[in-house]
Symmetry: C2
Subunit: 164 residues, 2 copies
DNA sequence: CTCCCTGCAAATCCTTTGCATACAG
DNA sequence: CTGTATGCAAAGGATTTGCAGGGAG
């Protein structure tokens, strides 16, 4: 019996190779870290997270590889309402929902939501003359369960202007 | 004949007062600069633009007031695909369409597009248990007329990763 | 072996802050 | 007049770059 499919979602070596990238330990660890749902760390948080696990990685390596992985389409990034760049493992098409009070981010998958899928939105928008629209990303804003329960300072408060 | 309604869109003094803000020369000029459609400057560009007109304004004043005006709801801001913060005069609800090649930004008004209006999207999204969704902003991406005409380097090229 | 990657430190870029002076109400 | 706002310069924070050593193919 051939030893096939060790773990679909964890075959990072294959994903890297498939994207034309070399397999390296830092890349493997970054992909592994992001390979969970609703995980959207800033580069700094990702760096600390990996360090906390005992991995000896450099912050600039994290920044560099996040960019490389992004260009390869293996991860996504977006700016949260406070302007911080956040990353997530790219798997299925989705949007984001951010809590205006504490900054928590939730993935909004569009697999089952043809109406809200990027392509659908991109097709439906009346593009100005001559433009070719290729994508659409929605940033939903609101209040998470903890923060909308009325309790002030339910979670860590935001320092800056909630914005956007 | 009473001298009424000098200029609806240019009554910046009234808009400021209405928002509980003092009227000052810098604020007046910033609002005036943004009071055109499809104008989405970065703070730096806005600063240079005002300077070019001979106005003696400080960069930090621009930053400060953009934030004040944003909090007052008189202007909006958003991050373009390169991560630059861009501002526009807040008038009607709308989204943005950005050219991935040259960075040009076009306003997509939703007055006549109930389906794509922020409220409609916010209502339609299946919010995770306990969340209260209050808004939605769409960032459409594509290629503007000049850049989609096939000619390479149609406009100023991007230095950074087009991203997102 | 050769080229690319890593990790540290220094450098950049955007944005905010401190402060004395000037203006709005 | 009193309290803000302005504008300059310096500080701060996030991200990038330079470079010598190390690893992947």
């Amino acid at each position: 019996m051939p030893k096939v499919q060790a773990s679909v979602r964890r075959d990072h070596r294959g994903r890297l190779r498939g994207a034309g990238l070399r397999h390296t330990v830092p890349r493997e660890r970054i992909l592994a870290f992001l390979d969970r749902k609703n995980v959207h760390p800033t580069p700094e948080e990702l760096y600390r997270g990996l360090r906390k696990k005992g991995y000896d990685i450099g912050l600039s390596t994290v920044y560099l590889n996040l960019q490389v992985l992004k260009q390869a389409g293996l991860v996504w990034d977006f700016k949260d309402p406070l302007g911080m760049t956040r990353y997530d493992g790219y798997t299925r098409p989705h949007h984001h929902l951010v809590c205006l009070a504490c900054g928590r981010v939730e993935d909004i998958l569009t697999d089952k939501l043809p109406e809200l899928a990027s392509e659908a939105l991109a097709e439906r928008v009346p593009a100005p003359e001559g433009w070719r629209v290729v994508g659409a990303r929605v940033l939903f804003t609101g209040y998470c369960p903890r923060c909308s329960s009325g309790k002030k300072g339910a979670s860590k408060p935001r320092e800056k202007t909630p914005a956007r």
